[in-house]
Symmetry: C2
Subunit: 330 residues, 2 copies
């Protein structure tokens, strides 16, 4: 049936002790070239595969990390995930993926599963500001790196993009195009990104009022609903700033469908610059973030913290977003 070939079978087959096999597996430099070769041959012949759980149990730490994102369907997070997977897999770590889908309950449940699996560390885009869940993880010896969320404290790593600057850039761009009344279509204002982008937008407005339309989700569907709502209410702004490209794409479809022209009647700007922003009906002006990089750097920080806990220096990295101008604001 299944293969009960353990480290002791290998040891026997190679004529050494189990301890030596373990050394070959984990500290090859500690063992002489001759025995190493013998053991490696035995491993190959017997098709031995180390039992990770046993190793984890004994060693006290595993070769897995957790990744908790808010919406796996959003290309932004997909790109981050791809970056994470790349470097984790390069360093021999497995990635356990969990999707909080914006629900705090689900996030909590997922973190429990991760804790049970004794992941070495967790990369998380927290769904709210409350740090107690993460502190609890840290108490358990699980490293935590915040992704797309700046750390407020110096004793933890984080990788983020300056969303306030991004919001300011977006609205400044809209104003420079002549817009005077500007609406901000956003996801839940419990999400830091949405809050910061609004703050940045308000800063760029310098006192003038920002009309805020808050949706429950940040999907194309929600964007389309927002469009319907604004049209129904009758007074359209000169320009719309959407908190992400998914909302913007939905908004674009909703507006176009109602015969409202972008950018002639309303200018539109999104956020994230996902691949598809450039390919949309009216190509979308957006705020680009170094997504892939975000995932890579976060993982590098986490694994550095895991593998070299003594030399590791916590870092709070903040990338700057970049304006990409396309048709939707011309």
């Amino acid at each position: 049936m299944h293969s009960p070939v353990g480290i002791r079978d290998v040891a026997e087959h190679a004529g050494v002790s189990p301890g030596t096999v373990s050394n070959v597996l984990n500290r090859p430099e500690k063992v002489s070239a001759a025995t190493r070769a013998k053991v490696e041959a035995a491993v190959r012949e017997l098709g031995f595969v180390r039992h990770g759980s046993a190793a984890t149990l004994r060693a006290g730490h595993s070769k897995t990390i957790g990744l908790s994102v808010i919406d796996i369907g959003n290309p932004f997070f997909t790109d981050v995930t791809a970056g994470v997977e790349e470097v984790a897999s390069d360093l021999g770590y497995a990635v356990i993926l969990s999707n909080s889908a914006g629900s705090r309950t689900k996030e909590e449940r997922n973190l429990l599963v991760l804790a049970e699996q004794r992941v070495r560390g967790v990369l998380i885009t927290p769904s709210d500001e409350d740090p107690t869940r993460l502190d609890r993880l840290r108490e358990r010896g699980i490293m935590v790196v915040l992704v797309d969320h700046p750390a407020h404290r110096p004793d933890q790593c984080s990788v983020a993009v300056n969303d306030i600057a991004g919001g300011t850039t977006a609205v400044t761009h809209l104003r420079s195009g002549g817009a005077t009344s500007i609406a901000y279509v956003t996801g839940p204002l419990t999400i830091r990104q949405c809050i910061d982008r609004r703050a940045g937008a308000e800063r760029a407005l310098g006192g003038a009022e920002l009309r805020v339309i808050e949706m429950a989700a940040m999907t194309p569907r929600a964007g389309q609903q927002a469009a319907a709502k604004m049209i129904a209410e009758g007074d359209l702004p000169d320009a719309i700033f959407c908190a992400n490209d998914l909302l913007a794409l939905g908004m674009l479809r909703g507006l176009t469908h109602a015969g409202i022209r972008v950018p002639d009647d309303v200018a539109l700007i999104g956020y994230d610059d996902i691949d598809f922003a450039a390919a949309s009906a009216v190509s979308l002006t957006s705020i680009r973030q170094p997504t892939h990089q975000l995932g890579r750097v976060a993982t590098e920080l986490l694994l550095d913290e895991c593998d070299h806990p003594d030399t590791h220096a916590h870092q709070q990295i903040m990338f700057q977003p970049e304006l990409v101008i396309r048709e939707s604001t011309r």
Copy 2:
């Protein structure tokens, strides 16, 4: 530092034996209501979290499954992944994600990691036809369900979509629009999906020649390159069938950029009907697949096989794709 609170601490605190605590955790019905309450209280007070590796080691099987996809950046796989994560997380399973990125070497390495983690089962979209890797897994007692790939054998589960029918539908649609010369832009012809869609296309053509342009990747970038190549070579077909929407989107951009109008000069059809197909510059006709469903059903089959190995009946499920007509073929 970290929390060494184990099952025996809980037992002591609750005044019972470790075995009883284990029973409360795993077979609550086997223990009297009173002791159960005591134990549960102790668990809560001590903040006990079960050590998954120890459980796995002793029990011989884990609460994790592996998911191996070909391109995590492709919305098709993202949707599948979301479906997988949903049902796995519902049933208390953790999902280990790995991305083969089309590389057989990487896929193999990832499967090894999954085997080491002693995942209960693996959901995989294989990057080629060779079944030996998967047989090796099965020998180890790891269940395998093929995703987006029909099983050739009755002793394994699979969930797929009829790609031959999809290819036929696509090309039939193009011909009914008046196209006579048709090109097929595809990813590597080692990938089953690409092969089958071509076969379907050829069937619809009934002997007429299908011009095949094979690219190394199935990304927007590759699509754009394909466009450049076709334009450089000078003779454009009446219609282009792309093996996925990513290619089609890139193709669309490449054509538009060169001043070629879609659908007036060339009709264009994609495959997958990702969310963004509807939002593109010229909205994209595509072949829709029940992606989310694919992930859900595959996971349900896998977990059924894991949790009820005796009553489980292997199934090879084949969904039918659906034509979605938009501007790019009008």
